[in-house]
Symmetry: C2
Subunit: 510 residues, 2 copies
Amino acid sequence: MESLKSSYEKLMEKAKSLVIFQSAESIVHWDMETMMPPKAINLRSQQLALLSMIEHRMSTDPEIGRLLEEILHSPHYEALSQIQRRNVYLIKKQYDEQTKLPEELVAALAKQRAITTDIWKKAKAAKNFQMFKPELDKLVDLVKKAAEILMEVKQTKTPYDALIDIFEPKMTAEEITKVFNELREGLVVLLRKCEASPKKPDVSILKRRVPVDVQRKIAKELAKAVDYDVESNMAGGRIDETEHPFTTGYYDDVRITTHYYEDNFASSIFSILHEAGHAMYEQNLNPEWIYQPVGTACSSGFHESQSRFVENIVGRSREFWSCFLPKLKAITGDVLSDVNLDTFVHAVNEVKPSKIRVEADEVTYCLHIIIRFNIERDLFAEKIKVEELPEIWNQSYKDYLGLTIENDSEGVMQDTHWASGLFGYFPSYALGNIYSGQILSQLEKELAEWREQIGRGNFRLVKSWLVNNVHKYGNLYDPADLIKLITGTELNVTPYLKYLEGKYSKLYGF
Amino acid sequence: MESLKSSYEKLMEKAKSLVIFQSAESIVHWDMETMMPPKAINLRSQQLALLSMIEHRMSTDPEIGRLLEEILHSPHYEALSQIQRRNVYLIKKQYDEQTKLPEELVAALAKQRAITTDIWKKAKAAKNFQMFKPELDKLVDLVKKAAEILMEVKQTKTPYDALIDIFEPKMTAEEITKVFNELREGLVVLLRKCEASPKKPDVSILKRRVPVDVQRKIAKELAKAVDYDVESNMAGGRIDETEHPFTTGYYDDVRITTHYYEDNFASSIFSILHEAGHAMYEQNLNPEWIYQPVGTACSSGFHESQSRFVENIVGRSREFWSCFLPKLKAITGDVLSDVNLDTFVHAVNEVKPSKIRVEADEVTYCLHIIIRFNIERDLFAEKIKVEELPEIWNQSYKDYLGLTIENDSEGVMQDTHWASGLFGYFPSYALGNIYSGQILSQLEKELAEWREQIGRGNFRLVKSWLVNNVHKYGNLYDPADLIKLITGTELNVTPYLKYLEGKYSKLYGF
């Protein structure tokens, strides 16, 4: 018993060092995107490569393997608490995967990722998929190799399932295919209804010019509105400016970024709300679990459920704007003085098929994801080849969204994910939406007056419900178990579709 | 020969990783001072402790010792170039020192430094040296232990010499005592002359209120004036805001900070010029030597010579202000419109004994340093005890500057150095001034029209002279050799005293 305790404590010391190291690494990454003098890029690449090599060594330290063996073979193992066993499980999972991937493969992947990302930028600018193809081919081959190794460690049915498992533990392409088919059906019906409606929003109001300085003031007010504290001495947050918005950080040091476009002020508004949703999750993990593996988010899908909850379910609601529009008007002077609440709410909820995922509305967004998921699944099942991607992509956009893709920059090369070797991640976005619908349905049962509260500018009750029902569980459960625990139901598209139906039938009058 | 080459290359790979790691660490430090949300302090302390432990392991890696042995015992050793041999020498010096200090002592020192710094802040606020004394006592004992070990490794005559050697290689307390005595004599004569003069500057103009936003604009203009590039895409610099100004960074990523006081605009002006002098040195080390030990600054004294050159010799010169005062007036609106050049230049060069080192003028500054040096030297020679510090301090300020210290916060507890275990550093400040005088004297021989150039707003010629005569040598020589190489003379106070005499006789009319 004493020896089990001592091994567990030693193991947790190792885990703690690793997470502290990773949090320091994330500061160096963040600095690169936000603060670094441009000239320093070469030095910074070398710093990041070195840090990631050290991180790899720390996470594959044979001492971790030895401690895991001792703990798992201890006759007293069952005496560990649920939390302790989960920590051991998560460390073992990570350790097994990291140690099974040969160092040369890890290095080759890192190198090929950098090369492919670099050529992607150039090919995208040149609208030339042929430039991109050979390097993407090499990268996909390397990812396939890694996926095959991970498949054995993780005991998944297919290599692609092993990739999905990195982001959404225990989820499978089979299950995703099933729910995505249902989701697609529902979304297409909704899309048709919106398109058929004679009611159309006036989106020209969103093009009115708002200077960056003014948008920075809006950002501060928004942060207050969703209780993302960036100003007090007790603050654990920041808002900075980058090309692409993101969230990074851990517990007491969580940072979000945004991009201000003078001719599209709504872009930063919704990116701040989105990232604040991510940030809130990280800041409100159980404080007792800091430095432990359970003290991390459940999955990428769950992370996305929180960001999209704040961005869309709260942030694009009539109630939110009934309270925030007057503030927005006050900050922007006379830019929006003639705009009424209905006009504004409909404008920020326009439903219209678009070629670019990151600009998509709530109804069409998941269709973009489903297209990407199908392609990834078939690519890793060797049903399609890299060279066929543009054709399949363009045909899918025709079939799903009725759009004609003019060139691959607005098509298959629009996202950075594949160029950086990120396969298996895309489904998380749609899973996040599905979870957010289920979570909303539960919230409505337990906090019936939530919309009223938002309308009064009180986000605190909703936030504390999310903290107590989602955030605080950290990584104690796999996502399938967590959604069951929170909502009593399995992964299920009905609540999300119901939420969309309710919202858009009012906006479009059907 | 091949084996020597291979060992040397392996050694340089180790050295490169270490310097890259340190540069990443410095970003995490910088972030703590400038950007970090306050709540993150506990997480950050743990990150920094972990990084410094990893750095210690890297720098004491036994493989380094093995490679050094191979290289130094190679029959072909003499075939290495001067630069290669210097790299080997610097790595060996660092390695021997790091490995000889027992890990427990390093850890105990780190811990005691943190404790003593913490209690120093409280004791300083409470003006109570008795609070500070017991912890400072413990810290001094630990530093003495380390100094005794380093004395053996470095083969210095005394433990204090071993501490000096960390910052000013091969310099000794004996030599410093000699030059500081000469320096004191000269400074006291000058101080008497200034004090006896009926001409007094009107320093009230420096109290005029300049809002922080306006001071930020001055900062940008100043950076341009001394060619510290912070704006272009090719920039390698930044200016941020911290409690105490500092410079950090390496080659293409060098960052300075300042503090804006609305009722003391000159404070940020001269701190920016000072830090820009440090930054310029780091940015202009020989680019071929990046990641090598020779690609670092020569010594703390040399670093200080560059910062004080830019701050004082250039930045407080009549020529600089003949060009910059009109710009300052334009930026500050009507705040300084009635101030003429002579009034302004005399105000920023007021000579007046003061209790606080960081506020001291050029004439009295070194007297503050000499007081601290004498105390450190005698403390480590066991001639005085920690408990006697306030008494000796106060008596010295009476003797050197004619001042009565009212309490220990404005006396012996004013600086953070001793509280953080930094003994042996203070002499660097005065050595820097002495070097700056010698360097100036050489500059005047080779670039006679330098003052004219500064008066025309052209700092480039002076800068490029400094780059080619100081910066580019990096750490190829010990400071005694470098000053000889640059000026043809040994360490020598005459040029600095002559520079001061020339400048202040004009300002004060003697």
